[in-house]
Symmetry: none
Subunit: 264 residues, 2 copies
DNA sequence: AGGTATTTGTTCGTATGTATT
DNA sequence: GAATACATACGAACAAATACC
């Protein structure tokens, strides 16, 4: 039949006294590699448990622990009398960013407030059209405000918000706001934000903004640009914020999707 | 034979006829019930493996199979020396509305390459412990590299990656890498990254890094710090990257989920 | 159809290592 | 250092499901 010898590259030797990975974990990694490399093809059987014991020189218990890891990830399935079949290719894990509300995305706790510093109407030109992903000649409103923590002297940042004309009533006479502007829009006019595109870059603080936030011109700052779209893909609101370094950190947390849970 | 002591009546006795449910499955069901009934409370320990052996009159191996089922469902977590703690209630539906389509959270992926510039082993001190969320005295590896687009002269950024000692073999002799380091770790040692914490701030480019990336010292840059954790919450890898402004933009997209669609 | 060999599933036992108290 | 508790790994046996002759 076959030469009962180790044709397969042996497991990472636990030789040197350093901290090491468990045998079953190494075996699982090796088998995963063999599946993704095509050595074991989808739909075909992998070697039997006994054969794997011989190939890798370990006990059946260890082999089964490794196979269990692959089963948890949905890579294989096994049945008594049949053997173990490759069910699918290893998928790079998908990560979810767990946020539930727009307010959470904005990350400004309820402890911060917006203080409006200016407000004006405008008709979009070419430059606006590029920024707002709209056509020239549309009516929009522009509101600028400072984001502040009441206890702090220095504002966290300066923000400019473009709002499509028909929704601007929601923020008509407002001086200070808790929460988010998009929440105001949703409450007042019934638009439903369906998609948010967010871009974060580093920038040097422009002089005019530096003055507003009591910072040095040219200081490093986070520039966060967000586009808010409704279900039809219509641009509702665009915000551009400058946050001097040391006054704001953008934090997010991603968790792996559980195997078998599909996301539409 | 050994004394069949069945103190707890929960298990369907395997004796009579052919009640063909495995013992470990029955035990898992019993424990799940005890958790949802509040007999074992969230945050509190459940009996030790040995105690469960005695309570249910089965071997430790069977008990561990049952506990493994609960671990897969995220109900419990166990640690050597501590015991097994209840992590959450069964079927806790605490999932959220919006997802980030981060097929690549690390948005560089395929078109860019990492060029390793230095590599060393270290034993963590207090400062490391704070950064790595670990204890002083642990063995870690530190790899520094430049992220480059092959066609461009200027690198996108400079990155330092801390890797827990036992996983460092995966990147042992590597000079350039396509893709991500965490993918290497997963492939080589079988660790499964389960959670990523990401922090983005603005920073002024330190002189040493500015030199590496051919930029001006003090220039504004994105500083991106990421912590990679496995299912047990163990820190596997921590990366800190500096990306001068104009060389990299961090983009993400959030979409609302249809109301009523819940993720189990 | 029947019997046997193969393969995974379940369960026991034992020993040693590692992390924590 | 000792005791405790989980983690890893070896071995063995039998049961259940399937395949093959």
């Amino acid at each position: 039949m076959n030469p009962r010898r180790i044709v397969t590259p042996a497991l990472t030797t636990p030789a040197a006294g350093a901290a090491r990975v468990s045998r079953y974990a190494s075996l699982a990694a090796a088998l995963t590699g063999d599946i993704s490399s095509g050595r074991y093809k989808v739909g075909s059987p992998i070697p039997t448990e006994k054969e794997l014991c011989d190939m890798y020189g370990c006990s059946r218990h260890t082999v089964r622990q490794a196979l269990n890891k692959l089963k948890e990830q949905g890579l294989i399935s096994s049945h008594a009398g049949i053997g173990t079949l490759v069910k699918g290719l290893p998928d790079s894990p998908k990560f979810l960013n767990e946020i539930s509300t727009v307010a959470e995305l904005l990350q400004f706790a309820s402890s911060t407030r917006m203080h409006v510093v200016s407000r004006r109407k405008l008709v979009t030109d070419e430059a606006h059209a590029t920024l707002l992903h709209c056509y020239p000649g549309e009516k929009w409103n522009l509101i600028s405000y400072l984001r502040k923590v009441p206890a702090d002297r220095l504002p966290m940042g300066f923000c400019m918000v473009y709002i499509r004309g028909e929704y601007a009533d929601a923020v008509a006479g407002i001086k200070t706001v808790e929460g988010s502007i998009s929440a105001l829009l949703e409450k007042h006019s019934g638009v439903r934000i369906n998609e948010i595109q967010q871009e974060i870059t580093a920038a040097h603080l422009p002089a005019s903004i530096a003055e507003s936030v009591l910072a040095q011109p040219g200081q490093a700052a986070l520039k966060i640009t967000r586009h808010f779209l409704d279900v039809d893909g219509k641009m509702i609101q665009v915000s551009i914020g400058y946050y001097p370094c040391d006054r704001y950190r953008h934090v997010s947390q991603f968790k792996a999707r559980k195997p078998g849970v599909s996301i539409p």
